[in-house]
Subunit: 411 residues, 2 copies
Amino acid sequence: MNTDKLKQLDAADPLRHLQEAFDIPEDTIYLNGNSLGPLCRASRERINEVVNDQWRSDLIASWNKHDWIDLPLITGNKIAPLIGAREGQVVSCDSVSVNLFKLLSTALMLRPECEIILTLQDNFPTDLYIAEGLSRFLGDARLKVRSLDLEDLDLALESTPAIVMLTQVNFRDGSALDIEAITRKAQSNGSLVIWDLSHSVGVMPLEMDRWNVDFAVGCGYKYLNGGPGAPAFLYVAERHLPHSEQALQGWMGHKAPFEFRPEYDASEGIERFLSGTPPIISLAALDAALELFDGTDSTLLRKKSAALAETFLILKAQYPELDELQLVSPTDPELRGAQLCFSHEKAYWICQALVERRLFADFRNPDVLRLGFSPLFLSFSGLHDAVYLLARVMREKSYENHKFAKKDKVT
Amino acid sequence: MNTDKLKQLDAADPLRHLQEAFDIPEDTIYLNGNSLGPLCRASRERINEVVNDQWRSDLIASWNKHDWIDLPLITGNKIAPLIGAREGQVVSCDSVSVNLFKLLSTALMLRPECEIILTLQDNFPTDLYIAEGLSRFLGDARLKVRSLDLEDLDLALESTPAIVMLTQVNFRDGSALDIEAITRKAQSNGSLVIWDLSHSVGVMPLEMDRWNVDFAVGCGYKYLNGGPGAPAFLYVAERHLPHSEQALQGWMGHKAPFEFRPEYDASEGIERFLSGTPPIISLAALDAALELFDGTDSTLLRKKSAALAETFLILKAQYPELDELQLVSPTDPELRGAQLCFSHEKAYWICQALVERRLFADFRNPDVLRLGFSPLFLSFSGLHDAVYLLARVMREKSYENHKFAKKDKVT
């Protein structure tokens, strides 16, 4: 594949105009939007507005005047179409970890007879930690966490009803689960299902309502580009909402928080899943970034990110020196998310060498080099430079002459 | 008291130089720092830096390069001296509500025999909601919440050992509890005590370590001026830290979060109280605002805010039309925090009329007009205009000619 062909792909890309909405330094190839989305101009403008026009000038009055009070719901309603949810079922707040805890508590209150959280050993670690923490807190007699290998999941879904907690796209190898099929199977056995969409939202076509999902959480700072540590979101199916309670009930979830009544009276809507005061500046940055998705069909997002990844693989195959990077993601694009993962014993140092040359990727234990293909800001032409640079690093073994004294804390 | 005297007070104010650090519009008198602190220049600069130099340019590498990963602890260590804690006992994260939940879970795991949360009926509502939510989740047999009137507290502290959960300064009338005495009494009976310092930190001299407090939480966006919904903080006494677990254990509390191990292994430090990824932009704004407190003795903060409130009362007494505003806060400055609360049946509309004239105050049900005396950005001279304006509104009964169609959501 040559640069002409890549230019053709760019010319035919219906999302191409969105690249200009981002402010990515010129010397940078960013294949790490799966970890932290880059800055878009709308977020920068909104942050300025929130800080200088709202907080500075209108001070406390901004809660009404600039509708800070409704921002978790406003933002949630922008996420809703990306996950196939109607308005009023999604709210943006807290972190994935905290939201997962809330939903686990909700599920346990809806199904007091359930004594097991069923999950996968290779689920994203914070999901496992949260489940484990809840189990330690409640005691093993009340709640056990069963972390399975994928091949044992089917059988387990047929045994005792449980709270099933799964992540669609595996963070380490990019493989994707079939939400619809697993949800149906789990529910047919009386289980409730909580999906973590952190590595899916913004790149996969998701249909929470149509697939009859019970609950979901997801991340605001990966493919949604909401900024570092942007608030997460949670989804609750309409059918559960009226009877759903959650353990972390705080004043923002109250029907009338500013009446300061001593008794908790849950909001009738999805706001009952709010706890404390949301971090408005970070939330506003996410809200602004979501405007880029406005009117964009998620099948288009999926199609482009799959095409980017396939193009990357074709280009990679043109360089024999890249053969030692072995694909550990599924080869079938249908079976993976928007990332490609390659194994190499020097993956950590390769990643460092790439980042030093401003090709951003990341490393995951034990030996995985991870590349993300965000559909909003990447071009097909840019992949040419990415593969060329990667090939040079591998050919010159730049990673062996590294000057890195020790591993970074975050990789 | 005349303007010359006020100018003398300003000239003698050792904190006076800090007023320039804030960017408050000229037409504004801000007596609402107890609810949302105003913007300081350091926060604005830091937000710009985080957005444009860090997120934009260094992208994911900022977690190491700009030490985002340690920011909850760095910020916590800046709060520590304000509450009389040594380094490594305070971390900034999540909301007051979520942090309170964590500490309640910690206390219950440390004292499995405790079946009661003891609190006051007039505690800040979100504290009550969180306790109630936890009780609903665990079941009444495991955990009951007893919300008392203040006069019954002493006796209750002598009965069954409990988790005592109190807020130092009452949000509605500004009255302050004696942390040291209550903590001692509670502990002598085998209780653990969690203090909410939301309406104290930054204006009261606090001595968590010296007073032998077990746990505390506090707010980042009131007197600490961290910005709307800034992350909160929590304190854990050194003696509890090694055996403290918490229910909301997320990956940021892991000893080695980026090794992505399936088993949770708590950080040895206060970081074990972190859950998910922190909202970096909002957290950085708080971190920058805290620099204003650097090297400032909290007795100076207390002294100035008490002097501001006393001066306000003296000025108020010069206007007979202000007599109908009745002080509901304790008259003894030693017995209250940094706010003055007045009752008036039209308090809501008075507050609206004041804010319309850019004298910021707030309203609390049922009839309370609340004024906060933040020591960092207020001048004594400014109080002259505040009282003058208030007197005019009362004299002209501007609040009766209001154009406000309905009550705002937030007041």
